[in-house]
């Protein structure tokens, strides 16, 4: 049985529905992210796990115990906030020891545990400082230590890095992940940043408008998005308008140029207009791939030099697509205005279904990859 379970959880605020039909089973020690745009119900779900919101319907089970009606201070859950929420009147050490003091642990046990946690977050010299004497990144590490001090059953983090600048965000992200692995603590991490979710998670729960769109590993969610929403929210995509020519063999045209997809399209008929999605990294310059490939030709519209990669935007006539080349000083990058041909494998084409309905071609390619 899973360590943390949400069963048919539902939450409305008055007439508006914040979370709908939420089902999730998290294993002990697993790192799961809730990923989705602002307002999609990530925080609300997290707050229901913490006990700050009561589900309108459904059950929440932690370590075999139904905690749906347990108040937050009895749930033994560690919480890290975007705002850090350190107690300004207490030193770093007092902040970290707060939970243990409330649990009336002996003073020397508290001292030892606080020292251990200060070591874990690499802040041993900072025990006597007050929160306002620390940088944002340091404050958030203290907040993490404070949440971990009580040895919570589950660690919940709500956009903990959003208030920090990019460099610290990346390094603290790694640090959080290392500490989580080291302690083996079951963790739910809320973020609207797909890169963050991918870098950290064992599994990602992609959410939109209060509903789960897909649950899967970063690899699955990125490569085999279950819905149109997931495909467009996670990573960048080229979206092309195509027309079905022969559904039985997966033959389409994009502005008159023939394209094959890897599987037949039984739900479509010839003449149907459909959306085709291709990840930029699966597109290459013509002539670089072997086997059966699709070709599209157009005009170079724009070339952006980004250091290690060069981003090329190509215009067909109505459709646009972009792809990346690795920087190579020996090779002149394509020039704007020149004509260009690109290629990609039939397997790279994702046929997007409607929102919240699985796009069959993707699950097909998932099967192929497996």
């Amino acid at each position: 049985m899973a360590f943390l379970e949400l069963i048919n959880v539902h939450k409305s605020f008055g007439a508006s529905v914040a979370v709908e039909n939420f089902n999730l089973a998290v294993e002990r020690g697993e790192f799961v992210s809730f990923l989705g745009p602002s307002g999609c119900g990530k925080t609300t779900t997290l707050r229901m796990i913490a006990g700050f919101e009561k589900p309108t319907a459904g059950r929440i089970i932690i370590d075999g115990v139904d905690v749906t009606d347990t108040p937050p201070n009895r749930r033994n859950i560690g919480m890290v906030f975007q705002s850090y929420a350190l107690f300004p009147n207490m030193t770093v050490a007092e902040n970290i020891g707060f939970g243990l003091k409330i649990a009336r642990r002996p003073a020397d046990e508290i001292r030892a545990r606080v020292e251990e946690l200060l070591r874990i977050i690499h802040m041993s010299e900072f025990g006597r400082r007050y929160p306002h004497q620390l940088s944002g990144g340091q404050q958030q590490r203290v907040a993490l230590a404070r949440a971990l001090a009580i040895q919570p059953k589950v660690l919940l983090l709500d956009e903990p890095l959003s208030a920090l600048d990019a460099k610290i965000r990346a390094s603290l992200r790694q640090e959080i992940r290392e500490i989580q692995r080291q302690l083996g603590i079951t963790t739910i991490y809320v973020t609207h940043d797909q890169e963050e979710a991918m870098a950290l998670s064992d599994r990602i729960v992609v959410m939109s408008r209060g509903r789960i769109e897909q649950i899967g590993t970063p690899f699955e969610v990125y490569n085999f998005p279950a819905t149109r929403f997931v495909a467009s929210f996670v990573g960048t995509l080229n979206l092309l308008q195509a027309m079905v020519v022969d559904a039985a063999i997966g033959l389409l045209t994009v502005e008159g140029q023939p394209i094959r997809v890897a599987r037949p399209l039984p739900q479509h008929r010839s003449g149907d207009a459909i959306s085709l999605a291709i990840r930029p990294e699966l597109i290459a310059l013509d002539g670089q791939m072997n086997g059966e490939v699709n070709r599209l030709s157009g005009t170079v519209e724009d070339v952006t030099f980004l250091g290690s990669i060069v981003r090329v935007r190509v215009r067909l006539s109505a459709n646009k697509l972009h792809f990346d080349l690795f920087n190579n000083p020996q090779l002149r990058p394509p020039q704007p205005g020149s004509s260009i041909a690109v290629q990609f494998a039939p397997e790279a084409c994702l046929v997007l279904g409607e929102d919240a309905s699985p796009a069959h071609s993707m699950s097909a390619s998932a099967a192929q990859a497996a």
Binding site: F52, G78, F81, A85, F87, P88, N89, G99, I102, A143
Partner: protein, 259 residues
């Protein structure tokens, strides 16, 4: 040059408005003996046992008022901001009532309401009534100060952080909320202290041996002593406020600074 002139001009006008009467009072208080400057009037005041008694009485009353007011206002303001933010204007309106209802009306209604109860039958009871009235008088200052203090910290997240660490409501109030509004509370307390020390109407109507009625009596029976008393009470009140400030300085240093 001109830029520096006007700020100083207004500062000096303000300071004069404040200091000249104070200086005049001080000067007058030194002339108890004909033809020389002396502290005779001060000696008379300080040797009067009634002075010490009434000052001490009002001092204790002021402290009791501040403590009770804080115990009522902090949890109220906290709860309103946390759970009933829409009620804030209503609560604020209620706390402003002492500005609208005259002290005479307040004390008569209290006396009538609690007539023939232990509150009006005994000295101790009347003192409780006195403190109760002063607590009401302190609401406008205390509530505003605490409400502003609470807004300066993220009470919402702090509360939830404390809850997730196992704290109940009492612990949250005692360990998190009170210490963090301490500085704000002090500023409300200073004003409350000054008001209680000088309050006359309620103390007189409840026949309490307070400092306000004592000053009043002295003013109608002596010539130089009331001026000396004014200077002394001025100095003592400022000393008391400075002491409170000194006690609160640690908290101030911690809560200040970037968050």
């Amino acid at each position: 040059m001109l830029k520096r002139f006007w700020p100083w001009f207004w500062f000096i006008i303000g300071a004069t408005y404040f200091l000249v009467p104070l200086y005049a009072t001080f000067d007058f208080s030194l002339r108890a003996r004909r033809g020389e400057l002396s502290f005779a009037a001060y000696a008379n005041v300080l040797n009067d046992i009634k002075f010490v008694e009434s000052f001490w009485f009002s001092f204790q009353t002021a402290l009791a008022t501040i403590v009770i007011s804080a115990l009522v206002i902090v949890p109220t303001a906290y709860w309103v901001q946390l759970r009933m933010p829409r009620l804030r204007p209503v609560i604020e309106f209620f706390t402003l009532l002492p500005f609208v209802v005259p002290a005479v009306v307040l004390v008569f209604s209290l006396a009538r309401t609690y007539n023939r109860t232990p509150l009006t039958d005994s000295r101790e009871g009347l003192w409780v009534l006195l403190v109760g009235s002063y607590v009401i008088l302190s609401f406008p200052y205390m509530y505003r100060a605490v409400d502003t203090g609470l807004r300066a910290i993220n009470i919402h997240d702090l509360t939830e952080a404390a809850q997730s660490l196992g704290a109940g409501w009492f612990t949250i109030l005692a360990r998190v909320i009170f210490p963090n509004v301490y500085t704000a509370l002090l500023s409300g307390a200073f004003i409350t202290f000054a008001i209680v020390m000088g309050e006359f109407t309620i103390a007189a109507l409840l026949a309490q041996p307070a400092f306000g009625p004592y000053m009043n009596r002295l003013a109608s029976s002596k010539v130089y002593e009331p001026s000396a008393l004014a200077i002394i009470s001025f100095a003592l009140t400022w000393a008391a406020i400075a002491a409170m400030q000194w006690i609160g300085r640690g908290a101030q240093a911690r809560i200040a600074g970037p968050r």
